[in-house]
């Protein structure tokens, strides 16, 4: 064997060994390392997402008591059931304050969606009281009432304002002193015996929270439904907020 052949055979052997090393030994390891690098990146992203989610959840936990108070106060504006007893009291009170007579109230026909109001959330199902229909993104039920009042023109005008003043929105504030009511239509007609004595027929919508959620969706003042009270829950035990509280929501 000549010297040149020996060199060629040696070079070929070295190349073969290098190729075998690369393809059989190092390349699979490098692929495995690259796959693991991708997995690390993905897991880091998942961890970052979980941390962000957890941060928002902790924020929700921190603001729970405030939100609970807000929901409880909203219960006066949007109760869990038709609550016509308090509605009648509020209407009578508003009528007396405006100086008109509150003649009658009757439940109107169910409206599938209050005109101009937000459409009902998809898939919202609830057990509605008679005369109610689902409306709004929060799954509220709309319940229409036909009301009849009697009085002079200016006093009736003031009454219409009072009916909608139970819930007032001023910038970021929502002032709740009674039922959320929206006057859909008004008809004024003079009485037969005196043209100054007007009969006002008002068609107004009121709203109820979803029956499946109830007023606070099963939450207590300490924790929402499905959780165990936290260790500092006892500090808020004394802050009982009822649905009849008149409050200012921010």
């Amino acid at each position: 064997m000549t010297r040149q052949n020996r060199i060629l055979i040696g070079v070929a052997a070295v190349l073969a060994a290098a190729a075998a090393y690369w393809f059989l030994l190092l390349a699979p390891k490098r692929e495995e390392a690259a796959a693991l690098a991708d997995k690390v990146v993905q897991t880091e992203a998942a961890v970052a997402q979980a941390e962000a989610t957890l941060a928002s959840y902790r924020e929700a936990e921190g603001s729970f008591k405030t939100l609970y108070a807000t929901v409880a106060r909203l219960g006066k504006a949007v109760p869990a059931d038709d609550d016509t007893r308090s509605l009648v009291v509020q209407l009578e009170s508003a009528a007396a304050a405006a100086g008109v007579n509150f003649n009658s109230i009757q439940v109107g026909a169910p409206v599938a969606a209050t005109p101009g109001a937000p459409a009902a959330a998809a898939g919202t199902t609830s057990e509605l009281p008679p005369g109610a229909a689902t409306v709004g993104s929060a799954g509220f039920s709309s319940m229409a009432f036909n009301l009849e009042f009697r009085g002079d023109f200016l006093r009736l005008s003031e009454l219409f304002s009072r009916l909608e003043r139970f819930v007032r929105v001023t910038n970021d504030r929502i002032d709740v002193t009674g039922r959320l009511m929206r006057v859909e239509s008004v008809s004024l007609e003079a009485a037969d015996d005196d043209y100054r004595d007007l009969t006002a027929t008002v068609n107004a919508s009121t709203y109820l929270v979803p029956a499946t959620e109830g007023l606070t969706a099963g939450a207590t003042a300490q924790a929402p439904a499905g959780t165990t009270p936290s260790t500092d829950a006892g500090t808020g035990a004394g802050t009982t907020i009822t649905a009849t509280t008149t409050g200012v929501l921010r």
Partner: protein
């Protein structure tokens, strides 16, 4: 004197005849040592590459395991706190819906007061019907077919006036009411003399206008539309809760229907 070679015996030949050695080729152990050294160096490099890659794999496996453990802990904590987030979502949805519903209401009191100031003294209003949209039904719903043309708050005024000119004057004054963008006449008809009440008793409700002296004052039906109120409430609701399909759909309907009432509209939109 005898010459003495002080070089070691194995080096004496190389120094004596370097040219013949090169010509005869490499001695057996000369370049072989370099080849072996090169092979060893390659083996060391290959081994180092393998070890480093293996260490990288182990490090990354440890990283993944640690991250997955952290992720699992975070998920467990998130699951514990999720009811708080659900409650927050529910509360925010309720507040947004209440705000939305409240801002979409119409100020009937102000409109009625403005209307009362705008109606001329010689015009008698027999009936007022106000609806917040054309789709509104119920006891107070207006019966005019014109009302269905625009899905905005509107007040329908039924009454009578001393003459057609007084009806026109009243429509012009209604156009000046704040928020009114369109005043449309449904009809203004002079009744037959036998249909009207002549010399109505003081304080009694007039079924028609006073027809003393053979006058035949017309009965009219006029609608005042508040298109800006609709837009304002939609804007407020959008600002409060984000864009809603309802507002967009209503606006489209209103603009489409606007063309159908052009012939009966006495005053253009602002």
């Amino acid at each position: 004197m005898k010459a003495v070679n002080l070089l070691p015996a194995d080096l004496r030949g190389g120094l004596k005849s370097p040219a013949p050695v090169a010509a005869a080729g490499e001695p057996a152990g000369g370049s072989g040592a370099y080849v072996v050294l090169g092979a060893l160096a390659l083996c060391v490099v290959a081994l180092a590459g393998y070890v480093l890659t293996t260490n990288t794999i182990k490090q990354r496996q440890a990283d993944v395991a640690a991250l997955e453990a952290r992720n699992a802990a975070l998920m467990a904590e998130s699951a514990r706190l999720k009811p708080y987030a659900d409650f927050q979502s529910m509360a925010q949805a309720r507040v947004a819906t209440v705000r939305d519903l409240a801002t979409r209401r119409f100020d009937w009191e102000q409109s009625f007061r403005d209307l009362a100031r705008a109606v001329p003294q010689d015009v008698t209003v027999t009936k007022l019907g106000a609806t917040i949209s054309s789709q509104t039904g119920g006891a107070g719903a207006a019966s005019s077919p014109l009302r269905a043309a625009l899905d905005v708050p509107a007040i329908q005024v039924d009454g009578c006036a001393p003459g057609q000119q007084a009806v026109a004057r009243m429509m012009a004054r209604l156009r000046g009411v704040e928020g009114v963008t369109r005043v449309s006449l449904q009809n203004s008809t002079k009744p037959e003399k036998s249909d009207a009440v002549v010399d109505a008793a003081p304080g009694a409700r007039p079924a028609g206008c006073d027809m003393t002296g053979g006058a035949t004052p017309p009965d009219f039906t006029v609608l005042a539309f508040f298109e800006e109120a609709k837009a304002a409430s939609a804007d407020a609701a959008t600002a409060a809760t984000g864009a809603t399909a309802t507002a967009t759909a209503s606006g489209t309907q209103a603009s489409t229907a606007g063309g159908t009432t052009a012939s009966t509209t006495t005053d253009g939109a602002k």
